[in-house]
Amino acid sequence: MRYLPLTQPDRAAMLAAIGASSIDDLFVDVPEAIRLDGPIAGLPGHASELAVERHMTALARKNMSAGDGPFFLGCGAYRHHVPASVDHIIQRGEFLTAYTPYQPEIAQGTLQMLFEFQTQVARLLGTDVANASMYDGSTACWEAIGMARRITRRGKAILSGGLHPHYVSVARTMAKYTGDALDVAVPALTAETDLEALIAKIDGDTSCVVVQYPDILGRIADLRPLADACHAQKALLIAVVTEPVALGAIKSPGEMDADIVVGEGQSIGVGLQFGGPYVGLFGCKDKYVRQMPGRLTGETVDADGRRGFVLTLSTREQHIRREKATSNICTNSGLCALAFSIHMTLLGEAGLRALAAANHAGAVAAAERLAKVPGVRLVNETFFNEFTLDLGREARPIVRALADKGILAGVSLGRLYPDEAGLANGLVIAVTETTTAEDVETLAQALEEVLA
């Protein structure tokens, strides 16, 4: 086996040094009745690199990848161009094959990177602080709701209908066990968000309001009135950003006084990867930092007075607090955070703003073109790089028909909300810098054909 360096003479010498006559002597504590006496039947044996590569490549070929044709999917995962140097750097063994930086003297590379990441994320989200990342946006969103419960000591969370339905689903699962009451809604195919309805629901039992920005249909609303309404009742505003590139064009939730801002960082540096691994972003106001879940990196000095970085405030965490921890989370998404941070460093403010402008302009042009397709209505008045079309008939079969033509046409709301007949005609279209004008034209013409 190519990954096992011990030779037979090594094994014999080591067994002799231990005083064991065979390897079986080392497994004596396994009850005899359940010891396996050979490789498990029905499973294949080892294989060469070439053979494995053939097998995996054949599987990969069975998929239609995003680059195979015009592509318009979003709804929580976006296709952006990732510079080649990002993937090169994250494959350096010193990053790829390191562990959680428990020994800071020999992990300054990871720790400094995480400190830089935290600062970049806080500035992007408009929060005072940010942590070293979470599993993904959906789990970060749930952790934020739990954090609001701890801070306000109230158990009622109001979730906007514009929040990604998978995020709602995750919160529902967890709330069953923590006892939080969730007020949930589904979106309507209208230009207006449910901001006013949310404001009307806030009362003295509300721990938080959770709102997505831009929302699942791509709509953008000013969060300031909602933040004010939350604060008037001493509830927290949690803003969820699933497309961080948007924050290169629109105000950050922190600027509009959101207390906790979470997000999915996948758009920057990480890639689609069929849904994971991704990277959860988590920022909040300074005063709540000790209730924050997840790892934090902090600045300090070493014995010689030199600046250095360490994991800090770990008294919140499970390995110290055990059953009293703020969360059971033990890992972050370190390598994806690195990819995010490298890509953000390559972009810088100038690059991010240019990227966001290109995304928005492309989406506006696409929305105008697609709205001209007979029978199609543009739902949004506001959007960044993603908008919703009302096709006037069920969108799901249309998406399948377009896939047969080699076009990945967007996310049908029927896929996300199978039980909501009122949403079945909705199709969410995302346009990024990877989308060309020709792609849009191809989609528009194919849509005309299929709808005719």
Binding site: F27, N63, Q103, E105, A363
Partner: protein, 524 residues
Amino acid sequence: MSAINQSGWRPTAPQQGGNAAPTFTGNKALMLEEPLIFEIGDNHTTGVEVAPPVTATSRLGGLARTAAIDLPGLSEPETVRHYTRLSRQNYAIDLGLFPLGSCTMKHNPRLNEKMARLPGFADLHPLQPIDTVQGALEVIQQLAHWLVTLTGMHSVAMSPKAGAHGELCGILAIKAALEKRGEGHRKVILVPESAHGTNPATAAFAGFAVEDIPATADGRVDTAALKARLGPDIAGVMITNPNTCGLFERDLRTISEAVHAAGGYVYCDGANFNAIVGRVRPGDLGVDAMHINLHKTFSTPHGGGGPGSGPVVFSERLTPFAPLPFVEKRGDHFALVEEETAQDHHADSFGRMTAFHGQMGMFTRALTYILSHGADGLRQVAEDAVLNANYVLRSLSDVLDAPFAASGPCMHEAIFSDKGFAEGFSTIDVAKALIDEGFHPMTMYFPLVVHGAMLVEPTETESKATLDQFIGALRSVAERALAGDETLRTAPHFAPRSRLDETLAARKPVLVWKAPETTAEAAE
């Protein structure tokens, strides 16, 4: 007469003695100091080129971002250099032995990386029509088949994002099963005192009360104490096997039978599955749920602290409660069972734990690794991992106290205590001195049941020569700790940083970079 020098060649010759002057840069040859991006970048520099936007009206609803975001950029060469320099301040498996106990830091084969980057896997959107992602679903299904077969269990939930997320998955399934039986009043989860901290944190999160089970002097769960505590309020137990003392829980089967008889469930923390893969199937031990860290046993990279992946295998009785979504094979077609379809035939599922379908990038890597090893190779993995750990244990037990040396062979990890160290010396001094020797230290002060614990997990991907060098280094450092060598207290001496002030970091947290105050502001 020096014909040789006409070419300009100046041969160097070694010079004896001489002290180094401090360098102008603070660098020391290959040891390079690197500032923060905020100190070297600015808001105008960028390392990417974006095509200028076509002219279009704004649809941003008056929310255009006007104030500076303050995100410094660097050109591509500066970016590559910044991160390359940072990388060189990290220790990593690629550099040497990384024997962190219970973390299974094994070699990460590069074929895994290459396969995960095939566009047919890496460039897939999670919400594409199911017909366009059949190969991806087949990967999930093939990996699921391996995991179920290797563990002798009934089913597997693939979506949990990491080990602790997997624990939560298992515990929520237990909770759902109890509620379905109308026994939601069972509120107590028993956890051995040697457990990972995530175990009690997970159980508490799910609303259970956590009670400790003591360990016996030989480092295993006190079976008699556990059995005595069983009763109508017990929801289940969480047991790590092999346990965090590096020992196989011989009585687990008996314990499982007793817990089942008392109406509870058995959760097994599978963090240490590497020691037994292909030698024992947890299903044969009566386990109801167990998470598998793909980033440990199946070699997906740890990446400086994630991403992980923590699929959970289930017994038949917990299978109906497994989370959504999951992949199902129907004839030649692979279907994704989500909220919609689950209503028909998976109505007892406790729900969704994450957006989308789990850590696909880790699945492709883990399947690649599994296919490379095959059933025979995986069995050899466990054997070599256990052999390496026992070799370390027996090679050092004359100089370091090995509290469970008499408890039988260890499994994948060897444990030592700080007993006998000179007054004022502790495990941390040994760990930091190992850094100077060019090794990553072992896990320190865990498990809590051993005083000054040093938990060494060499894994199967270390050669005998590497182990011999490590054993020599740890022996030398241990002897210094026993003798009270004062230089240990200030180790490491040769790392990029000396010991860092963690107390200061926690007392006055600086979590984001702020520009130093200008003289004018400071004077106000």
